[in-house]
């Protein structure tokens, strides 16, 4: 399992306004494009020096493609990264202030301590 790569996806999408919108509108396509062209890029290095070994496991790819933040939490993706990106994508769909954040908490209500390990 590659918690690091899950986090790398969340991190690189969250910091790019265009990618945030693209992932919201077309999650499956964005995940496929990202895994095939971006996953192995070492940040701050040109493409000729990319890594060769990073890929998602099927369950990880599916969790990202399904916008399944509960599954991402269960897999040990960094909760701050997941929360921040998902707020950016979905807070706008809720009338009440913090409506999305509270629903997010409710959907995780079955989780108890200790939470999944987030160490990478």
């Amino acid at each position: 399992m590659s918690k690091y790569l899950l986090n790398k996806f969340l991190f690189t999408v969250d910091r790019d306004p265009e990618l945030v919108e693209r992932y919201r509108e077309d999650p499956r396509g964005t995940v496929e494009w990202w895994e095939s062209t971006q996953a192995n890029l070492i940040l701050n290095c040109h493409g000729g020096e990319a890594s060769t070994w990073l890929r998602f496991e099927d369950a990880e790819r599916e969790a990202l493609a399904a916008h399944d933040y509960v599954k991402l939490f269960e897999m040990g993706a960094h909760p701050f990264l997941t929360l921040t990106l998902f707020i950016a994508m979905f807070e706008r769909d809720y009338e009440e202030p913090l409506g999305f954040q509270k629903e997010y908490a409710r959907k995780l209500a079955h989780m108890s301590l200790p939470y999944p390990d987030i160490a990478t």
């Binding site: 960094h78 909760p79 707020i87 908490a105 995780l108 301590l113 990478t120």
Partner: protein
């Protein structure tokens, strides 16, 4: 030698800026009292009349990333741009620019390395809300040069709590031995109990009011020994999954000193996490 004129520890609430500047229907009911408390807290820094601010905070996966993650990092640059796109997006924070106090950065790096802390450094650091929020609350005119110090409270494996306390003690020694006539304040931001991206997030109070009460008592009383006897990397998961930010409060207790009671203490029970504000005036620091 430089004089340490104030030690300030604060929670860091990125929603303050938006809440305090909102008007009319957008202004939340808790904003006025929050502003009043923050302005009273601000006065404790103003009164110390500092020339330079050492700012302790933590990057939230903005510039520091898992391919190259330092545990403790000191900025050394003439300027620091600040706040990131995703902080503008989520919190409405403004872009800011800070002046750096490079000679103090150099001194802390050289002497810190020689004192046993293998500090990382950055010559081009864009800082985030862990440092901009306390400037907004404590020094909104943003007229003083800074030395940013980042700690890793975020991406395990993390340093042990006692290491944060030791770094705080070392920062104190280095500020007080810096050959300069400047008046220095050390300001650090941390968290009390906090949950982010988990089932206990965004409740009507912080996730663990009992921990918060105990934490405020430790900090206000300078009870480093008591705090270290109960707080471990494992125990901090219990009050909330982002409570490791409490270790920056422990660092600030190290700056203030064992048994040193805070001269100013205030708290504000808000949704999501409790606010807490502490100021110490070290001996001779009163102006």
């Amino acid at each position: 030698m430089a004089e340490l004129v104030a030690v300030i520890a604060s929670t860091v609430h990125p929603f303050y800026y938006r809440a305090s500047t909102a008007t009319g229907e957008d202004r939340p009911p808790f904003a006025d009292e929050w502003v009043r408390k923050v302005e009273a807290f601000r006065e404790t820094l103003t009164r110390a009349n500092p020339d330079v601010l050492v700012m302790v905070g933590s990057d939230h996966f903005h510039q520091l990333w898992l391919d190259n993650m330092p545990q403790f990092l000191v900025g050394k640059a003439p300027f620091y741009d600040a706040n990131w796109y995703n902080e503008e997006r989520e919190f409405g924070l403004p872009r800011m620019v800070f002046k750096g106090q490079e000679d103090l950065s150099s001194y802390i790096l050289r002497e810190g390395l020689d004192a046993g802390f293998d500090l990382a450094f950055s010559n081009e650091l864009r800082i985030d809300h862990s440092i901009t929020c306390p400037i907004i609350t404590l020094r909104p005119q943003n007229d003083l040069p800074i030395v940013p110090v980042y700690t890793n409270i975020f991406a395990p494996p993390l340093p042990q709590p006692k290491r944060f306390v030791e770094l705080g003690r070392t920062i104190r020694q280095l500020v007080e031995s810096w050959p300069s006539d400047k008046r220095v304040a050390v300001i650090g931001t941390g968290h009390l109990s906090l949950e982010l991206g988990g089932p206990r997030q965004f409740g009507p109070h912080g996730p663990d009011p009992e921990f918060d009460a105990k934490a405020v008592e430790w900090i206000a009383g300078g009870d480093i020994e008591g705090c270290l006897s109960e707080v471990t990397l494992d125990s901090l998961h219990k009050p909330g999954n982002a409570t490791h930010g409490f270790m920056d409060f422990m660092l600030m207790m190290g700056v203030a000193g064992e048994g040193e009671k805070a001269d100013y203490v205030d708290t504000y029970d808000l949704f999501h996490t409790m606010e807490a504000y502490f100021t110490w005036y070290p001996r001779g620091g009163r102006s």
